[in-house]
């Protein structure tokens, strides 16, 4: 066991994957000497060489398209997108190529590409540096999408992503990069699945589903709710596509109430997918319609306003009150 920050845990996971498989190569902007703008790849170029840690020209479509070519050639590219808002030039390559080549070639060609994306807000950055684009990718068949919420998962799941024969988007909650946690560096990534959700706080009254950056917020909310006499069960999805609905379903059958929270905008988002699927699966157990506590349907706002946009403990608990029928900010509006 060692104590690592979230960022160092990813670094350690990358290092171990590169040690274990010479076909693993890293590609991205500023990931070499600089170690990435968040230092996630710090020291890797020095230790593995510039032929395995490639500083690429400044062109995301280029990076992604050449990663496809490398994968054709038998490599397992791990691509770093510098910030969430810069993935869009690569969108065409991801959606039309990365996601579809296995299907198109009828399974003959594998695309074991891992796409690392620092995502989410809360760091006071200018435009394009705080986005939550995960739903674009969960909506794209052929991709697997995961998001760790703590250093241990960061360490294990990056290795699981790299060893997946399918393309994986690995969303890193950048505002948690500096969070420290215990990491068992000897643990075997093959012993667990990156697609299993995790009940991080047990409870009986309300199921609170989230992932990535909001997991610590949700846990705090559960503590505060407990002090108020409400027992909240917090589920960290870990995998966003596919979602481990069995775990969520088991919880909602017990609680009858579901709150989903994410930073991404509400409409057409993952919360909608979770609400619909759980309503289908648990309709007869629901005591209240599922409630979403999410970012607004706005472009990510400038930093002085971002804490209005981002769900926090109070907003989450207001949602909890709604599913419980306790007095809440919308009391009187709901019939």
């Amino acid at each position: 066991m060692s104590t690592l920050t979230f960022g160092r845990a990813i670094n350690a996971g990358l290092r171990r994957a590169m040690d274990n498989d010479p076909k693993v190569i890293l590609m991205g902007e500023d990931i070499g000497k600089l170690g990435g703008v968040f230092r996630i790849t710090d020291g890797l170029q020095k230790d593995f060489g510039a032929h395995r840690v490639l500083d690429t020209p400044l062109a995301e479509a280029g990076i992604m398209g050449t990663a496809v070519g490398m994968a054709y050639r038998g490599y397992r590219p791990v691509v770093e997108i510098q910030f969430d808002g810069f993935i869009y030039p690569a969108f065409d390559q991801i959606v039309c190529q990365v996601a579809k080549i296995h299907y198109r070639t009828q399974g003959a060609v594998k695309m074991p590409i891992t796409i690392r994306v620092p995502f989410g807000g809360g760091i006071g950055s200018p435009e394009h540096h705080s986005e939550s684009p995960e739903a674009y990718f969960t909506h794209t068949s052929g991709l697997r999408v995961i998001s760790p919420s703590n250093p241990q998962d960061a360490y294990t799941m990056i290795q699981q992503a790299i060893s997946s024969d399918d393309p994986v988007l690995y969303f890193e909650p950048k505002r948690r990069y500096h969070v420290k946690g215990e990491v068992d560096e000897g643990s075997d990534p093959a012993a667990s699945s990156m697609e299993k959700a995790c009940v991080v706080t047990e409870g009986s009254d309300v199921t609170l589903v989230t992932y990535g950056p909001l997991v610590p917020t949700a846990r705090d909310a559960a503590v505060a709710a407990g002090d108020d006499g409400v027992s909240v069960e917090v589920i960290d999805l870990r995998s966003l596509a596919p979602i481990d609905f069995e775990t969520v379903e088991a919880s909602v059958r017990k609680t009858g109430r579901l709150v989903i929270t994410h930073e991404a905008a509400q409409s057409g988002g993952l919360g909608a997918e979770i609400a619909a699927s759980i309503t289908e699966r648990c309709f007869y157990h629901l005591e209240h319609a599922p409630v979403r506590v999410t970012g607004f349907d706005i472009p990510y706002p400038y930093s002085k306003l971002e804490f209005h946009h981002l769900p926090d403990l109070d907003r989450i608990l207001d949602g909890v009150d709604r599913v419980l029928g306790r007095p809440n900010s919308l009391s009187g509006l709901e019939r």
Partner: protein, 379 residues
């Protein structure tokens, strides 16, 4: 597999390579150039002093903003230290009805366009999504997505062409940006339509930690002719040369000659942004070499040699820079905080039912707190 990093390309530290347009050397000596001299024949001593003052002022803006960031008053700042001549020389060549599409680093160009100083800071303080009305100064607000603005400028120029106007669109971007598909597509469009657009690339040798050699194996200006666009390499630290080549490109565009590509060879003397640490990736010697070619120092030497750099002049310039810095600081600290409901503003031009509902709910939420009367809801 070995991708070679080409650390030195033409335009490196060892003097101007052949083909680089230069009118004032690093030592401040005016070198004649039959092709370009006529373009700056009107630039007399007073005009040169004006360009010098501009460069001092924008350097001071840069320093003050950097300090404000270190003091926690700005979220981030992208310094332009070292690139003053490229931006002032080109910016001062423009006409009011020309239109600029820049990246985030062209604060000196914005200064030339007459931007209110406080407006420059709004976006970096996080108090607004942009600082100014593009139509007020005929300059789009800074573009963060690398290279995207080059297409916008090209489209704007296509509009000018359709209108039969003689204005010009000018787009600024970096050496790193030239790798992006957008920039290359912009050149295809500009050439196809012979649009009145100037591609002004500041090759400051770095894209964050990546040297220009990673983006281009030939001088960047050499690429443009492949698209059918005439190009020129200019000493980006020579304000007079930058003025001259921009005037040439403007004249071509205004007279139906289509696009021009200008590569201004310069150097980013500071960090990429205030969040960056260049010592991790670049050699201190390189900075020293470029410090010797500092755009302000050479003009200083040149003015001095002509007796145009007396104490009265320097004192006036310093007073101006001090006043601008004080104005900038005061404007920053006095900037009003946005209201919570501003978070819903300007997403659409007409009411939107989804958002109206979310705003209504959020306002109810904010007023549900015991202290909400006195609160802005930001805790």
């Amino acid at each position: 597999m070995a991708l070679k990093n080409i650390e030195s390309v033409p335009g490196g530290p060892d003097g101007p390579p052949p083909g680089l347009i230069q009118l004032i050397t690093a030592d401040g000596i005016r070198v004649p150039d039959p092709a370009y001299d006529p373009l700056v024949a009107d630039v007399d001593g007073a005009a040169l002093q004006g360009l010098y003052e501009d460069m001092v002022v924008v350097r001071r803006i840069d320093a003050e903003a950097t300090a404000l960031q270190r003091q926690g008053e700005l979220a981030l700042w992208p310094p332009l230290l070292g690139q003053e001549a490229a931006q002032i020389g080109s910016g001062r060549a423009l006409r009011r009805d020309d239109f600029v599409f820049s990246s985030y680093r062209e604060n000196a160009v914005a200064y030339c366009r007459g931007v209110d100083l406080t407006d420059i800071l709004r976006v970096w303080r996080g108090n607004a999504s942009s600082g100014w009305d593009p139509y007020a100064i005929n300059m789009a607000t800074p573009q963060v997505i690398i290279g995207a603005q080059t297409l916008h400028a090209t489209g704007y120029a296509m509009g000018i062409l359709n209108d039969g106007d003689d204005a010009v669109a000018v787009t600024y971007f970096g050496d790193g940006a030239t790798s992006q598909g957008d920039v290359n597509e912009a050149m295809v469009f500009a050439a196809s339509f012979q649009a009145p657009v100037i591609f002004f690339c500041q090759n400051n040798h770095w894209a964050i930690s990546e040297p220009v050699g990673l983006q281009a194996h030939v001088p960047i200006a050499n690429r443009a002719p492949g698209f059918g666009i005439p190009s020129v390499r200019v000493d980006g630290n020579d304000v007079l040369a930058c003025l001259a080549v921009t005037r040439q490109a403007l004249a071509r565009a205004r007279s139906g000659g289509g696009p021009t590509f200008i590569e201004a060879v310069t150097y980013r003397m500071g960090p990429h942004t205030t969040a960056d640490d260049p010592t991790r990736y670049r050699d201190a010697n390189e900075l020293e070499d470029w410090a010797a070619k500092d755009p302000l120092k050479r003009l200083e030497a040149h003015l001095d040699s002509r007796g145009l750099f007396d104490e009265a002049f320097t004192a006036a310039v310093k007073a101006k820079a001090d006043a601008v810095a004080a104005e900038l600081r005061a404007g920053c600290l006095d900037m009003p905080e946005p209201a919570p409901s501003d978070v819903f503003k300007h997403v659409y031009s007409t009411p939107n039912s989804w958002l109206d509902r979310q705003q209504d709910h959020y306002e109810r939420y904010l007023s549900s707190f015991a202290d909400s009367a006195s609160s802005d809801g930001s805790s």
